[in-house]
């Protein structure tokens, strides 16, 4: 009898637990998976390689994974006098 009650109890308890779980959830904007800690969500979202994580050049729109690489890249747009050169490396237009 105790065993029967326990199974019953277990079911109810898990239902209860699911309902009463605090709803402070953080939802991934790519796949809508739920996380309870914001830092965990941040770690997970990095997997999606979101465009926000990458850095884009404001002159030619090229994307970079690291900002120091972008800084290095920016130098190709400026000549030795520091003037900005709008020459795009993709389509050769000015």
């Amino acid at each position: 009898m105790f065993a029967v009650m326990r199974i019953d109890n277990d079911d109810r308890r898990s239902d209860f637990r699911r309902k009463m779980r605090p709803k402070c959830e953080f939802v991934c904007k790519f796949c809508q998976r739920r996380f309870t800690k914001p830092y965990n969500l941040m770690i997970h979202e990095r997997t999606h390689k979101s465009p926000e994580v990458t850095f884009s050049c404001e002159i030619c729109g090229k994307y970079f994974k690291r900002q120091d690489n972008l800084r290095q890249h920016r130098s190709i747009h400026s000549d030795s006098y520091g003037n900005t050169n709008y020459n795009c490396c993709n389509c050769r237009s000015y």
Partner: protein, 812 residues
């Protein structure tokens, strides 16, 4: 207005025009070139049937194409468009480019696309040559005289009849492949530029024009690839083109396209060669769509762009730029849009809704590229088409899994035919046919599994709700993992299950794990424990010993190994000598995938238990939970022991060597696998020992500190490498470091003790802490310049508190 009518007239058969204009030509060198090229192209001029080029394949407006007065009612009536040849065109814009042969036009088109990523400045004809119809020219009467001059070739249109073969299936294969390659190249460049937001205007117009006017080509392509006549090459490139086409039209996509492709998977219930081919074709398309990345830049590409691309030539010497300027000079007075080819003008006018995005047309651009800046952010996004495709596919997925499972079972029973067994001629033919059949099936299964993997992969960025219908069938699919499978399929299946147990990227971070995933993990654990899955893994064959069924080569099929001797190439097997030492090894990548899969399954299992028990511990008796944990721990230890002894045997390690050494050695060339495996062992250890360190045996076996120290040894204590791993998103090192630092902060004495045990002379603790302190400095410097890409504060805090512990440790 006037110029546009001129352009319409330009649509005549260019070859006729050229021959008429030839007397007035000023540049004999170019003329010579053209003639030479023509000779090359038509070596069989004396034959009654000859093949010539016809541009204008994509000119669909029948209003523009007027029937030639000279053409008599022809036997091939439907497939014929004959346009009125231009009599005398006062404004000869494209003169220079007209003088080029078709071959030159084609190569100019291709180099412009691949090198300059721009089609501006190319003549209308050059743009049309790559996309012309296949045509057959027959002389009408016997007036054709070969013995005159070379210039005669197609002098008078009344002499010949041109048949345009409109349906692709009647085209010769090499011509078809060339056509498809050009199409594919154009679409590829278009999509690449589209993703970056800057498109060469001409490329965009050409693409739009092709897609809007020639939509039947794509329908025909699907039909062609579903028929038995298409070769594998045609199927492959067609699947690419269909994918590009669907992605380009993604905004106004018609559901019927997707439906056709998905229905294609089920058109015949009989599994024959053709059916397999059809399924593979459709799977290829769907896979390409699902895997499509909007921002896809290869890591090496940024370097390549910097060095291999030549700087743009100065305008004065840029042939295309000067040519284009000459062209647009007179035309700007008559009409602003006349710089565009005539067949595009109507389209551009119709498409005025898009004019905000294509405002670059009218702006004068100095080097000839009508450069269009896309402002519409929607144009970068393929989420919609991915969503439609997966939704359509989800309904049919169970049926597809069933039919592919049958195919897999067939394949594991079927013995792959061995082509080298020399029999009589007739039998040999049959063996080759069977072998082809086998390869096609294998290929189809591989495509299916990798499509499945792509759909459920976290990196594909599909919503978890969308992928749910695809994860439910994995558990039953796991049953198919057996030793009779070809190794390629076995490996691909392991990869699929590894992707489903996305531990480091997702599951480790979640509180509640999906039930399907847990079930899959249970099944794999049971498989290792009871069914000897490790021992029955396919092995690589190094000798020609065929007695063992387990032995498979890793090129997919059992083949006789070819032995190179200095003088002759011989396939004679040296079985007598090699059988004495049957050197049988496992494929390393297969081993890695299997090990990672087992470790992930164990980690998921522990995490699941942990989630449940930590919640229920409030009211249930501690004793029951502890009893459960004992059983669980025993299971885990048994599985891990099996894994350990198996790896020690295969990798020839000393029986006493520690698990961490094997782990680092096995994964030394795969950092993402390695770090995920490290996260798994760390989580299993900390998960199982959450109550008073109850299971010292398991903790000692997996000791995460040893693993970390081995890892540091492998990367020779480089804090730069650690920083790179932290910043990049390719591995889950951020998660690992976070959990590891937390672990050693709680178990500091154990950390110190492990360092001491590991030390062979040098002070391991000091070295390790030096690396960590240097890492903290490096992160701190990047953070202070606000160059660090994300919030790293938790790691910094943990590093600091570990340093404090270290300093306190030194004092005591």
């Amino acid at each position: 207005m006037m110029s546009s009518s001129n352009n319409n007239n330009n649509n005549g058969i260019f070859i006729n025009k050229i021959s008429e204009n030839q007397p007035e030509l000023q540049q004999p060198s170019i003329k010579r070139q053209r003639i030479d090229a023509n000779n090359e192209q038509h070596p069989s001029k004396a034959t009654p049937t000859q093949v010539v080029a016809k541009s204008l394949s994509f000119l669909d407006d029948s209003g523009n194409s007027t029937s030639s007065s000279s053409s008599s009612p022809s036997p091939v009536n439907e497939s014929e468009i004959i346009l009125k040849p231009e009599e005398n065109d006062p404004i000869e814009k494209d003169e220079e480019q007209l003088l080029m042969s078709d071959k030159e036009c084609l190569s100019m088109f291709q180099t412009q696309l691949t090198h300059n990523q721009c089609l501006c400045g190319l003549s209308e004809r050059t743009l049309k040559i790559p996309f012309r119809y296949y045509s057959i020219v027959k002389p009408k009467k016997q007036t054709y005289n070969r013995n005159e001059k070379d210039e005669i070739d197609l002098k008078k249109s009344s002499d010949v009849q041109v048949h345009y073969v409109k349906s692709l299936e009647h085209w010769p294969e090499d011509f078809l492949l060339k056509f498809l390659s050009n199409l594919q190249l154009l679409f590829h460049i278009y999509l690449k530029q589209n993703a970056k937001g800057n498109i060469c205007g001409k490329i965009m117009e050409l693409c739009d024009c092709l897609i809007r006017n020639q939509i039947h080509i794509f329908e025909e392509l699907i039909q062609l690839c579903n028929s038995s006549i298409s070769s594998n090459f045609v199927s492959y490139i067609s699947s690419k083109i269909i994918t590009y086409f669907l992605i380009i039209i993604k905004d106004e996509i018609d559901r019927k396209w997707i439906d056709t492709i998905v229905d294609n998977l089920f058109t015949s219930d009989h599994v024959d060669n053709l059916a397999v081919k059809k399924v593979n074709f459709s799977l290829d398309i769907i896979k390409c769509i699902v895997e499509w990345k909007d921002h896809d830049e290869h890591i090496l590409e940024e370097d390549a762009n910097g060095f291999t691309n030549l700087p743009p030539p100065p305008l004065e010497t840029n042939y295309f730029a000067t040519l284009h300027r000459d062209q647009s000079g007179p035309s700007t007075s008559s009409s602003s849009s006349s710089a565009l080819p005539s067949y595009l003008t109507s389209h551009v006018a119709n498409n005025s809704g898009r004019s905000s995005a294509t405002s670059g047309h009218n702006s004068p651009v100095s080097n000839g590229c009508h450069f269009v800046q896309l402002t519409d952010s929607e144009s970068f996004d393929t989420a919609h088409i991915k969503c439609i495709t997966t939704k359509t596919l989800a309904n049919k997925w169970p049926a597809l899994v069933r039919s592919i499972s049958e195919l897999i079972m067939q394949l594991s029973v079927e013995i792959p035919p061995n082509p080298t067994q020399q029999q009589n001629q007739h039998n040999n033919h049959r063996t080759i046919a069977r072998r082809m059949n086998f390869e096609n099936k294998e290929n189809c299964i591989l495509t299916f599994i990798s499509l499945w993997e792509s759909i459920i992969s976290v990196r594909t960025n599909l919503s978890v709700v969308e992928t749910l219908p695809f994860t439910t069938h994995l558990v039953n699919f796991e049953l198919l993992l057996n030793q009779n499978l070809p190794c390629t399929i076995y490996k691909q299946m392991l990869q699929l299950f590894n992707e489903a147990l996305c531990y480091g990227s997702t599951l480790a971070l979640q509180d509640m794990m999906p039930e399907d995933t847990c079930e899959l993990a249970h099944k794999i654990i049971r498989h290792v424990k009871d069914n000897r899955i490790l021992e029955t893994m396919p092995r690589q064959i190094n000798s020609t010993n065929h007695s063992d069924d387990n032995l498979k080569t890793f090129i997919g099929l059992d083949c006789e190994s070819v032995i190179f001797s200095p003088n002759s190439l011989t396939t004679q097997c040296l079985s007598t000598s090699l059988n004495d030492h049957p050197s049988v090894t496992f494929d390393k990548s297969l081993l890695q995938k299997m090990t990672l899969l087992v470790l992930k399954s164990v980690a998921v299992y522990v995490k699941e238990i942990r989630c449940d028990s930590s919640d229920s511990s409030i009211d249930s008796s501690d004793y029951d939970a502890f009893q459960d944990m004992i059983v669980i721990e025993r299971t885990i230890r048994e599985v891990l022991k099996k894994l350990e002894s198996f790896m020690k045997n295969t990798l020839e390690f000393h029986p006493e060597s520690h698990f961490s050494k094997i782990l680092i050695h096995l994964f030394d060339d795969q950092d993402d696998f390695l770090i995920e495996a490290m996260v798994c062992t760390l989580d299993v250890t900390s998960g199982i020992s959450f109550r008073n360190n109850a299971f010292p045996e398991l903790v000692a076996m997996l000791n995460p500190v040893y693993t970390f120290l081995e890892f540091l040894k492998m990367i020779s204590n480089s804090s730069d490498l650690l920083l790179d791993l932290l910043v990049s998103t390719e591995t889950c090192f951020l998660l690992y470091l976070l959990r590891f630092l937390k672990y050693i902060r709680i178990n500091w004495s154990m950390f110190v003790q492990s360092c001491r045990d590991c030390g062979m002379g040098g002070n391991v603790l000091d070295n390790t802490m030096t690396v960590m302190i240097s890492l903290r400095y490096k992160i701190g410097r990047l953070v202070s310049k606000s160059l660090y890409p994300y919030d790293i504060a938790p790691i910094l805090r943990l590093l600091e508190s570990c340093e404090n512990l270290y300093e306190g440790n030194e004092l005591s």
